[in-house]
């Protein structure tokens, strides 16, 4: 049987990192093509700050999420220690997560994976007069577009073909490909009709404020300041079921004010750019195989979408699992083709 033809749909963080992992795990035994309507800098991933601070999926066991995060953290740790770090947009950043009420303070499942996690001291908390408790730690930030462009470069080096193409129905790929990996993010709502997938709209500001070196995140998850390579991301909003992609000026002012109350020096921020992204939210990441068939024809599908606000934190872990599922699909195809020879 000819080498299985694999198509990965989606060129956001999940599509690129999944395609890369498939290429790394299955070198030489399949051809991989990446298909996407949008590429960096126009993906949802480009809007995100890319901070490695996990979101908790209610529908996934904690030990699985922890494993995904650990794999991702370890992967980025290695990149950040290499001389590719700046090209890949991966950098360490330290900072604080702060709370207004003691009752909101929890030790998260990921506290032993990030670096140096500990409660903030009273002296540190003096910077935040409206907050009473906090946690300090060091983690990674994946700046986009650099990280996505770096992944694209790695894909090409691994022989992955990349095409701009809008896929409206997975079945349309059945004659050209044997296995399709669905990393369409929020696009999966239309692509596969998943009603459990819904957007959580996030508006952010990306500003020039290079003196801000530490991250600050309110434990409520709504207000955050994440310093990137050239810009600081100020956020944000979490608007469930909103599909609105255009920025809202009232929201811009509100975000700016909230962030300035945590970091007054941001009043001097320059060149404010407003972005909107729709977090592809789901109670759990859809990470599973499916077989589509019509008439006598079959198409093997691996789904890897629905990462919501936690995509960056678990991307390498879910890519690993998706690559494993693709391996199973390849084995299944080879098994059925040798049966066909009997």
């Amino acid at each position: 049987m000819a080498a299985p033809r694999v198509a990965v749909v989606g060129a956001g963080l999940i599509g690129l990192s999944t395609a890369l992992r498939i290429a790394e795990v299955n070198p030489n035994c399949c051809s991989i093509t990446l298909l996407s309507e949008q590429f960096s800098p126009n993906t949802t991933s480009d809007v995100a700050a890319g901070m490695l601070i996990p979101h908790t999926y209610p529908g996934t066991p904690i030990h699985v999420q922890k494993q995904w995060f650990k794999e991702t953290f370890t992967y980025l740790f290695a990149i950040s220690n290499s001389n590719e770090a700046s090209e890949a947009g991966i950098h360490l950043v330290s900072g604080w997560q702060i709370f207004k009420n003691l009752s909101d303070v929890e030790v998260p499942f990921w506290s032993d994976i990030v670096l140096g996690f500990r409660p903030m001291s009273a002296a540190e908390l003096q910077k935040f007069p409206h907050h009473s408790h906090g946690q300090a730690f060091t983690t990674f930030k994946c700046d986009c577009p650099p990280y996505l462009l770096w992944l694209e470069k790695r894909l090409k080096a691994n022989g992955v073909q990349i095409h701009t193409r809008k896929v409206t129905d997975l079945w349309e790929l059945h004659s050209e490909y044997d296995i399709v990996v669905n990393c369409a993010g929020i696009g999966a709502r239309q692509l596969v009709g998943d009603q459990q997938l819904f957007p959580i709209r996030g508006q952010v500001l990306k500003v020039h404020a290079p003196w801000v070196k530490n991250f600050i995140r309110d434990g409520d998850g709504l207000t955050y300041i994440y310093p990137g390579i050239d810009r600081v991301t100020l956020g944000g909003t979490r608007e469930k079921e909103s599909w609105r992609l255009s920025p809202d000026p009232g929201t811009t002012k509100d975000i700016f004010d909230r962030c300035c109350s945590l970091e007054p020096s941001l009043q001097r921020a320059q060149d404010i750019r407003v972005k909107v992204g729709l977090r592809p939210s789901r109670s759990c990441v859809r990470l599973q195989r499916e077989v589509l068939s019509q008439g006598g024809a079959k198409l093997l599908v691996v789904h890897n979408y629905g990462h919501g606000s936690g995509g960056f934190s678990v991307h390498r872990g879910t890519a690993e699992e998706a690559a494993h599922l693709v391996g199973e699909c390849i084995a299944a195809l080879q098994g059925s083709s040798s049966r066909a020879k009997l």
């Binding site: 330290s94 670096l115 002296a123 540190e124 003196w211 050239d230």
Partner: protein, 288 residues
């Protein structure tokens, strides 16, 4: 940051840190060049905690995982400190002085005597490395440093290494500023040369790139050499020069080595107190 535990350096360090912390959340902070920054002090063997551990924010030892970021170093500290960029701070101070009616003269002062003859009552001597030209001071010596300024905006932490044998500041360090990142690690006692040295450049570049491989991709923007006004301790004291009607009071405030910014405000307040004493004395004298 290295006060050597010498009193009153530690007190001045504390006073300066607390004074600046008070400005952190003010609208002036950016104009002052003031911001918080976290980072690492790295060692090749365990060392006792520094005298300033309770002055800075969030001081702690490094975890084993963190030390994996820095091969070759087996021990270290993490803390959050303050950056005060003088290319912003000096103009800010100048503005505040001008607002208070302080006059500035661009002039070379040849001697304290010159000051008496102009009717000056008190001279505050902040002449740094050149203090010896006004009054010989063998304890004051240059400690030459050289730095390379690069564009590396992905570096968000300071990294200061320590080599107990080569001594302070001669081990590589990386300090990110608001625009440029400074690479350094040169400390040459007794060297008055303000020209950049190619050998020092090579030493800084190679050692810093070994410490932080991503620096290899950083664009070099500037190179600079300067003379730290080093002294076993800061000279902060009064001296009466001349006698009778041509007596002038001098308050010395120089010899801050490589930690002037770290203790400047504490020193300034101490100098101001000395001035206060002088003014009180003059007042009570004038009543006689």
């Amino acid at each position: 940051m290295f006060s050597d535990g010498v009193f009153p350096h530690r007190l001045w360090n504390k006073e300066t840190f607390e004074y600046l912390l008070g400005y952190l959340n003010s609208p002036e902070a950016k104009e002052m060049g003031l911001f918080l920054i976290s980072g690492y002090n790295l060692f090749k063997q365990p060392v006792p905690d520094p005298s300033w551990k309770n002055i800075v924010l969030g001081f702690r030892n490094l975890t084993p995982k963190e030390l994996e970021l820095f091969p070759g170093y087996s021990y270290g500290w993490f803390n959050t400190a303050l950056m005060l960029e003088c290319r912003s701070y000096l103009p800010w101070l100048t503005n505040r002085l001008a607002q208070r009616g302080v006059k500035f003269f661009h002039r070379k002062v040849e001697s304290f005597k010159e000051m008496f003859s102009q009717g000056i009552d008190v001279v505050v001597n902040c002449t740094g490395i050149r203090a010896g030209e006004l009054q010989p001071d063998p304890a004051l010596q240059p400690a030459r440093g050289q730095v390379i300024k690069v564009l590396a905006p992905w570096v968000k932490h300071f990294i200061i290494t320590h080599d107990m044998e080569s001594g302070i500041y001669s081990s590589p360090y990386v300090i990110p500023g608001s625009e440029f990142t400074v690479l350094g690690g040169i400390y040459q006692q007794g060297n008055w040369n303000e020209e950049n040295s190619a050998q020092d450049h090579k030493s800084i570049w190679e050692r810093c790139c070994r410490l932080l491989p991503t620096l290899q991709k950083a664009e070099i923007v500037q190179e600079w050499s300067g003379l730290r006004p080093a002294r076993p301790s800061v000279r902060l004291e009064r001296e009466s020069i001349g006698h009778g009607r041509s007596r002038t009071e001098v308050i010395h405030n120089y010899g801050h080595g490589g930690f002037g910014i770290t203790i400047h405000w504490g020193c300034a307040m101490a100098a101001a107190r000395l001035l206060g004493n002088i003014l009180q004395e003059k007042q009570s004298q004038s009543h006689l």
